[in-house]
Subunit: 517 residues, 2 copies
Amino acid sequence: MNGADRLISTLTKNGVQVCFANPGTSEMHFVAALDRSPDLKCVLGLFEGVVTGAADGYARMTGVPAATLLHLGPGLANGMSNLHNALRARSPIVNIIGDHATYHRQYDAPLTSDIEGAARPFSSWVRASPTADAIATDAAAAITAARTAPGGVASLILPADTSWSEPIADAPLPDAVLTRPQPVDDAKVRAVAEILRTGEPTGLIVSTDATRDTDTLDTAGRIAAATGARVLMLNNTAVTKRGAGRVPVERIPYPVPAAVEFLKDFKNLILVGTKPPVSFFAYPDKPSEEFAPGTRIQELATDRTDARAALEALAGELGASSYLPIRAELDVPEMPTGSIDGDKLADFLAVRIPDNGIVVDESITTGRSFYARTATARPHDYLVGTGGSIGYAMANSIGAATACPDREVITLESDGSGLYMPQALWTQARENLNITTLVFSNRKYQILRNEMQGVQADFGGPRAESLMDLSNPQIDWVQLAGAMGVPGHRATTMEELNAAFDGAGQVTGPTLIEVSL
Amino acid sequence: MNGADRLISTLTKNGVQVCFANPGTSEMHFVAALDRSPDLKCVLGLFEGVVTGAADGYARMTGVPAATLLHLGPGLANGMSNLHNALRARSPIVNIIGDHATYHRQYDAPLTSDIEGAARPFSSWVRASPTADAIATDAAAAITAARTAPGGVASLILPADTSWSEPIADAPLPDAVLTRPQPVDDAKVRAVAEILRTGEPTGLIVSTDATRDTDTLDTAGRIAAATGARVLMLNNTAVTKRGAGRVPVERIPYPVPAAVEFLKDFKNLILVGTKPPVSFFAYPDKPSEEFAPGTRIQELATDRTDARAALEALAGELGASSYLPIRAELDVPEMPTGSIDGDKLADFLAVRIPDNGIVVDESITTGRSFYARTATARPHDYLVGTGGSIGYAMANSIGAATACPDREVITLESDGSGLYMPQALWTQARENLNITTLVFSNRKYQILRNEMQGVQADFGGPRAESLMDLSNPQIDWVQLAGAMGVPGHRATTMEELNAAFDGAGQVTGPTLIEVSL
């Protein structure tokens, strides 16, 4: 049993079941060990961003970490942007980065770089494991770090000789330590209850700890029913269980003027494991803080607190535990017909999201009304961008579909975003994942056209316009999908989209539909 | 004239003519300023690795920096792997990373990360420019840093308000300081001359400073002619001018056993701006140092020394200045026919590389004989992987073709590597660049199959095999090229390849040929 075997055994012993991988030479002993480790499923990505994005999606759906396997500093670098998103999603990930053998680093061979330094800005924990004897303990520590609230990216650097060496001692495999979230702060509970008893307009801003757990959502809904408070979430909340039968959560809009308008009448905002709502970007004439000046901000729970317990304590304090939460009722619109626009696409989704479906939404400008209009669709999970790094959705969907093979995944992708990591389609095909991808093809970076007006840049010059234009040449998404082994279709009307979606449901494995706008 | 205007004006005043860009919201004032700055050409990439890889290719061909434009930490992250290659290529790059407005960082908005910390491992210089008054000075310092020997990646972080603010003072635009390389060390020149006078088998390992300058190569060739020394280079030397009329440089092989065999009879190795040859990776049973134990290693020049002056001083010391260097003579083989293999492809290249062509070689296992067999082709520039991060070649070619619009670029791409950044094809089409890409499609990570045997991992299990297999599904490169707007062809015989290559020469703009192996 070499170091790689001990690493994999420690992972599987502690509940890590999947490794998303793009290995290289220094990881070959890990790869070889897979054939001695049937309990660790290994999924290949052709690019490291696919690997880390898939691990994020897996973590979002399961709450437990997948492992990654990346190749030295550049492999880590290619995976970093989706690690950034994962950190913001609070996704637990055991991020394994192969390195040169320890004795080889002194030679500064071409692939050498400062992996620890590179990992730190995109990790919540970093450790290089120096020996085959240390690796099991280090792996357990990585799992502990990844799973400690609020969830994090634990980067474990694995030198090649740590993998290939036999340990000196035959020590038992260690357990990861599952730490409890921090306890509820009773003083905060009382302070929040006092605010809610005033009857002033109050928003309860909950985190993904609440939005992905229907019991916790119910508790928030009881508090809302008892006090008149509204249940809100930040725009970039990782996963929301919603639709018919669930307590609806109002999402603070992305555009600053809309967010300011949305928040302006709240006298109090209660933070349940979140931060106050701030604008995604700074704009010369707009505030960074989206809430009205003078709004009282009161924390109920930090991101390390048990959000469920905090809300239950608050419900108890308020006598709200016996209230019935307001839940969404199923209400789907007519299927829209004719030419395609964003609102019709939203209605289409409201009709077509299946019971217990998973929606991964990176539709950016096309999808501005998707969230609101699908509030009363069949019950589903809704995943969105968390860290603002685009191109994650098709990779996230791999992880979600791997975690939930019996559920249908719908990926809502903008063409600009989808072009960051189109290799994700190949893994979807290879793993025969149940994913239908809609690519909204407007052939431009429409978000940037909006933002350029938002930042009051002197807009409209042809060279600036050209940098937001994806029409020369046009991307052919049907060919792109076909190149990656995914059947592709093109829809130019709602009827064609509906028919293509029907077709996708009749095959196993992934389908891509280019929605021409 | 806001900060963005002053930045761009400082760039263009100091010789930066091209910016490869993938901008976002925080860069919108830079983008808007382009319409007031006709001297800076701006080239859009759909992924940041394309941007940084193009900047590397541009720098390799010109020796002067291009600028990049990246979007915060994740945008930088996506560009890092090719910055790693650029650092190893000694390519000067002014790497501009937009950031939040300075006052907005305190809010930890979703896209916030430690950009300085992230940039450091992949940069030779990092600075965040705090104000519109500082930006011109900081940009000049970045250019200075990028151009200081041996050439480097200068990462300049550009907060949004630095861009959009008007400076307080109307200071003149500063000049970058062009620093001289370090002077020749006469003691080292004498020490090397003494070694060469022994007549012992000696290798002169030159860097890209020599291999991309025919005069410097000639000087090395004179020394070789006068002393019997052989002119060598490391396997990952960025650019080599070679073919008919040039002094040939022997390339130390990549596989460790071949490198050890190649180097075993040298008694002395002279380093001219390089490091001693070491293996790319460590292997359990192979040395990290590829030269024989006891080999004398003597430095003539560091990577900061003027390599040309050092070689000229050495030639003078040896009385070699009047010798005629041995130059390659044109000798091209017959055009191979029939089924395709690596050696026939090498001969094909030897026939088809055009006069003054540029070859970017990321052919990995398919191309093991390409370099040797093209030594007597028509004169050309040969670019190879420098930092071991794969997927750079199609992006590098963008930069090379942008720098040299009148020359033909041939990209030799392996299918595994090409799948890291296939978006490069779109920029090739958009810019109508004169690039012909051959993709060697063997539908596997053949390099890893070799390496797994090399590292003595227990080879051959089906799960390990599966992680090196790209055949399920097969990638259709013709469709992939078509999706990106590049005409694609498939060749299954040498005749088909030759015909497709003819066709590529008859159109303007890029072509891709999938070479089925």
